[in-house]
Amino acid sequence: MTGGGRLHPFTLLAIAAALPALAWILPAPSGGLAMATIALGLAASRGLRPGLRPAVLTAAPFWLFLLLLHDVPTTIAIGLRITTMVASFVWLVATLEPARLVEAMIAAGWSASIAYLLAATLSAVPVLKARARRIVEAQRCRGLSPRGGIAARLRALRALALPLVLSALHEVDERALALETRGLVPGIRRTPLAPPPDPAVEQAARWALLLACLAALARRFIVPRFI
């Protein structure tokens, strides 16, 4: 597996959190550029379709709006930071296996309900994509094509949005019921089945990332006062 897929889930989360944090803390635009390059590189390591393309396509509208609202230097500074956030999240979603995250959190003593909630949030994007694909296919069967001009695409988007949102809301109820039937109730002490290994080097790397963020924060806000 490429792009860090076998890393401990906490390490993946730490990387995905540290990159945007550093992008915002480090001086613009060089800090943002460095972090965006790393985040886009990680996203690209998952492949063009699941990684780089969604990251770029999601970040692009932000650049457009920033350009309309700000001057070029500000657009570049904020755009790089937002790109880092987007690319980090896309990489995380494409890399982190929700089941491994649950196992890691349970092994670390977290509540099973919270672990499941976090994992379900991270897996929401692919689930919604699959649901949207099914809705579009169903609508195609009834003659509504999502292709064509802008007007046709907007019509198709409107026809997609409502069933997508309503079915997602309905599924929340269904899943709550289903998880109850599977014993996932508040206050349980779940047995970890296969907790992912957490090597000392990864634990050290997570501390290093935290220290790097704190050091960058100190350099940015504390040190200048004493100079």
């Binding site: 296996e97 929700p98 089941a99 649950v102 099973a112 499941y116 994992a119 379900a120 897996s123 689930v127 599924e171 109820d173 269904e174 899943r175 709550a176 019921l177 289903a178 998880l179 109850e180 039937t181 599977r182 014993g183 996932l184 109730v185 349980i188 002490r189 779940r190 047995t191 970890p192 089945l193 296969a194």
Partner: protein, 258 residues
Amino acid sequence: MRSLTLDHASFWYPATASPALRDVSLEVVQGEVVALVGALGAGASTLLLVAADLAPRVIGGRLTGTVARRDRSGIVLPTPWTQASGMAFTVWDEVAFGPANLGWPAHEIARQVDRALERLELVPLASRDPVTLSGGELQRVIIAAILAMDPGLVLFDEPAAELDAEGARTLWRLIRLLASEGKAVLLATSALDAIPDVADRVVWLEDGAVRAVGTPDLLADVAACDAGLGTSVATVWRASGLPPPYPLTVAHAVQRWR
């Protein structure tokens, strides 16, 4: 010994004026299989949700009367794809999801999961990704997942809906086996022809209320056949204009014919 007792239970779904269950009194004892039959909307699924302590606790609504459960219950919902955890990459892990939530030791989880997989003839699929399974296979996985939690009261809502004929036969045999092990089974099914071989008692629900309770012979009753709740043999007998009492099974029909 009683596993489940409903005493004058009525249940209203949220924001509804009329009850989905009306004044239902019912007992299910250990080692017994009780089948719930009725038209769509008769209240069988609702009764199972109440028996499983999911209604009103999880889905909301209002319950009157009393519901007493002696054993931990496990319910198989009619839509297996919504009951999957979504957190497992193999069938084995999917089946183990529930037992792990019960906090059992790992060796006990492994024992129960292996046993459930064997019972549902799922051992060859143990390492498959659940998302690659057919509807029938996933149905069997979910049944195995519930049985692996070792419930004393097992509630089935249309468990054969996704199964082929052979899968359904395996399930009916398994339900009898569960009863022989002392589990109480409450089964809502529209597979009326299977009931004479599976159930000890039949509860006929109509508009949320119990209309009749009896042995599976109830499914050859004239009123049940008139309501579309007769077995195939009884229904054909009736449609042929032959006089009641209608035979329940092919064996009964042959006996009558001779």
